[in-house]
């Protein structure tokens, strides 16, 4: 898994032209996966928040 050199990224692609071509291809799809993933993450966050709100916080009764 570990790679021999660091910092990496500089030599990931053979040439600037290839990097550009891959970027254009990647941008045909992106950011669909990121949108779904981020949405799932914040949905889980909201579910967790609401869970604590309804299951722990409100049953513990009024204060103020």
């Amino acid at each position: 898994m570990a790679e021999p050199s660091y910092p990496a990224g500089a030599h990931d692609y053979a040439s600037a032209t290839e990097e550009k071509a891959r970027l254009e291809a990647a941008m045909d799809e992106a950011p669909r996966g990121a949108a779904v993933l981020s949405l799932a993450a914040v949905a889980l966050l909201l579910i967790g928040w609401l869970g604590l709100y309804f299951l722990v916080f409100l049953p513990r009764g009024p204060v103020g």
């Binding site: 990496a8 950011p31 990121a34 709100y53």
Partner: protein
């Protein structure tokens, strides 16, 4: 200032490109970061002992005096020394490598460094002597020896000098490069400097006008509500001061390490500007359970706190999208195939992924904390300790570690011979942090309170907490091992490595590198005005009330 002015007056003499990360600046950066690392490793070991002391197991040297001395040292080392020195060192590094020209004010920077060292020693000796066990959040009317506070003030003044060097570096670069966008890494660093100047006003006022006069015995009485309000001014934005380098790494280092591009440079600038605006007028969420403020202002600052989640949530999307671009460029297919295609064997990539996971838990806990009345459920319980250890110890520190791993080759001139010890260290840090903090959430919900030197496990309510406390202690031990391995990895590179490394690093490029940006996103003038107005709205009356309708003051209790 003379050095700064002279360098700034003749920028044309400096080469615009090249001479990057010059030897003098390298020494400056290494000195700062090693001070940070020493404080960090020491504080990790103290943290383990504190958890041992609170567990059902008998801990050596366990007494209330030692416990609170240790908690104070742990907090001061982590929150003031590690952060301030790391941020200063990294800022100098960014100023030189992102702007690609020598750092101005090198001698002034060294003067600030030694001032920070003097302040750190003064504060540390005060705590070790046992005369300053007031924790890093002070709690007047308890007062420590005045030298404790004076030491911390010296550290803050040193950081102010750093702020000025950062601000003028950017200004002089902009003067020499009219119309060009300031590189994002430097824009963010200066955003942090600007925010930090605002942030420190609260604590500086508290220390200079209230606490230090009380500690010297000049004042017998202290307005406790006012001191808490002034400290709350600082208390939230200081966390964003710590967090900024992590976000700088997300935006300007991670996309490159992943082999891709930053999704949007503009969103980066916007996120950093939003941090300046919204991390300041929100500190009163630390005072929800306090009697000295009305519900109206608590509600207002709760609302503003909700808004400070926006830049973080925007960042999550922008950085995930950047990761997707990199993964797809590396051949990842389908909706999620890009995740597996990312180069997880690179420390910056792995650390960013783990940082996001810890941010999820820490941010989720934080959402509960800030939810106004809901704060009563967990205020001053282990839940809060879990929250800020995940944010600070988690997201912030793991990115500091990844930043060190990214810049160390350029500072030492050597590449790491193997990345495996680095990856092991990062994984251990993540595992240790999760194992330590997940039980704390659970204990906090059951009412386990903070800042207790010991628990009476014979009490039937407390008895059931024992096993969970032991699990979190195990997590703490893993963290300490990881901290030592981290320091060892960096120390080793000073002696030997795996081949020569270039003296600089490349920052990530955006999908659309900015050609021109609006002046509002190339400087901070407008945002300073907005911060001033928001602070007036959020803190104007809450502070003024102590002068219009002064509450009874409390007698100063001296510990030192």
């Amino acid at each position: 200032m003379a050095t700064v002015a002279r360098r700034g007056a003749a920028p044309a003499l400096q080469p615009a490109v090249g001479a990057v990360a010059g030897l003098q600046t390298r020494r400056l950066v290494i000195a700062h970061i090693w001070v940070a690392l020493a404080a960090f490793a020491f504080a990790c070991l103290l943290g383990v002992w504190q958890m041992w002391a609170r567990s059902p197991l008998a801990a050596p040297y366990h007494s209330a005096a030692n416990y609170f001395r240790s908690v104070t040292l742990h907090g001061v080392s982590m929150a003031f020394v590690l952060t301030t020195f790391f941020i200063m060192g990294f800022g100098y590094y960014v100023a030189e490598t992102a702007l690609r020209r020598p750092l101005p004010g090198l001698r002034l920077a060294w003067a600030a460094f030694w001032m920070g060292i003097a302040g750190t020693l003064l504060a540390a000796l005060s705590v070790i002597s046992g005369n300053a066990s007031v924790l890093f959040t002070f709690y007047p009317p308890l007062t420590a020896t005045p030298w404790f506070y004076i030491g911390l003030v010296l550290v803050v003044v040193a950081s102010w000098i750093w702020c000025l060097i950062m601000i003028f570096s950017m200004r002089w670069w902009r003067a020499d490069n009219p119309g060009k966008p300031v590189p994002l890494a430097m824009f963010a660093t200066v955003a942090n400097a600007v925010m930090w100047l605002w942030t420190t006003v609260g604590v500086a006022a508290e220390l200079l006008f209230q606490v230090i006069p009380a500690a010297f015995g000049w004042n017998a009485m202290i307005d406790v509500g006012l001191s808490r309000t002034l400290f709350s001014w600082t208390l939230h934005a200081i966390v964003y001061f710590w967090l900024f380098p992590s976000y700088i790494a997300f935006y300007t280092m991670f996309p490159r390490a992943a082999g891709g591009r930053l999704y949007s440079d503009t969103m980066g600038r916007l996120a950093f500007v939003l941090f300046i605006i919204y991390s300041l007028p929100v500190g009163m969420h630390h005072l929800f359970m306090d009697p000295e403020h009305s519900n109206g202002f608590k509600f207002l600052q709760m609302f503003l706190t909700l808004l400070v989640s926006i830049p973080t949530l925007l960042t999550i999307f922008t950085i995930t999208a950047s990761a997707e671009i990199a993964g797809r460029m590396r051949g990842g297919k389908g909706l999620f195939g890009w995740i597996g295609a990312l180069p997880w064997g690179r420390p910056m990539v792995l650390a960013t992924g783990l940082a996001f996971l810890m941010l999820f838990w820490g941010g989720g806990g934080g959402l509960i904390n800030m939810s106004y009345g809901m704060n009563a459920m967990i205020h001053n319980t282990s839940w809060v300790t879990a929250h800020f250890h995940l944010i600070f110890g988690g997201t912030v520190v793991i990115m500091y570690q990844a930043i060190c791993y990214s810049i160390w080759p350029s500072l030492t001139g050597r590449n790491f011979a193997s990345l495996r010890p680095l990856l092991v260290q990062l994984w251990l840090w993540f595992i240790g942090m999760m194992v330590m903090t997940l039980p704390w959430h659970w204990l906090g919900l059951q009412g386990q309170w903070r800042r207790s030197a010991a628990f009476d496990y014979s009490n039937p309510i407390i008895h059931g907490w024992g096993p969970w406390v032991l699990v979190s202690l195990a997590g703490g031990i893993v963290l300490a091992v990881s901290a030592l391995l981290f320091v060892y990895n960096l120390a080793l590179l000073h002696r030997r490595g795996g081949g020569a490394a270039p003296a600089t690093i490349e920052y990530a490029r955006a999908v659309h590198p900015p050609q021109r940006v609006p002046s509002s996103l190339n400087g901070f003038g407008l945002w300073n005005i907005i911060v001033a107005l928001l602070m007036l709205l959020a803190y104007g009356w809450p502070i003024a009330q102590f002068f219009f309708d002064p509450p009874p003051q409390a007698l100063v209790h001296r510990l030192g």
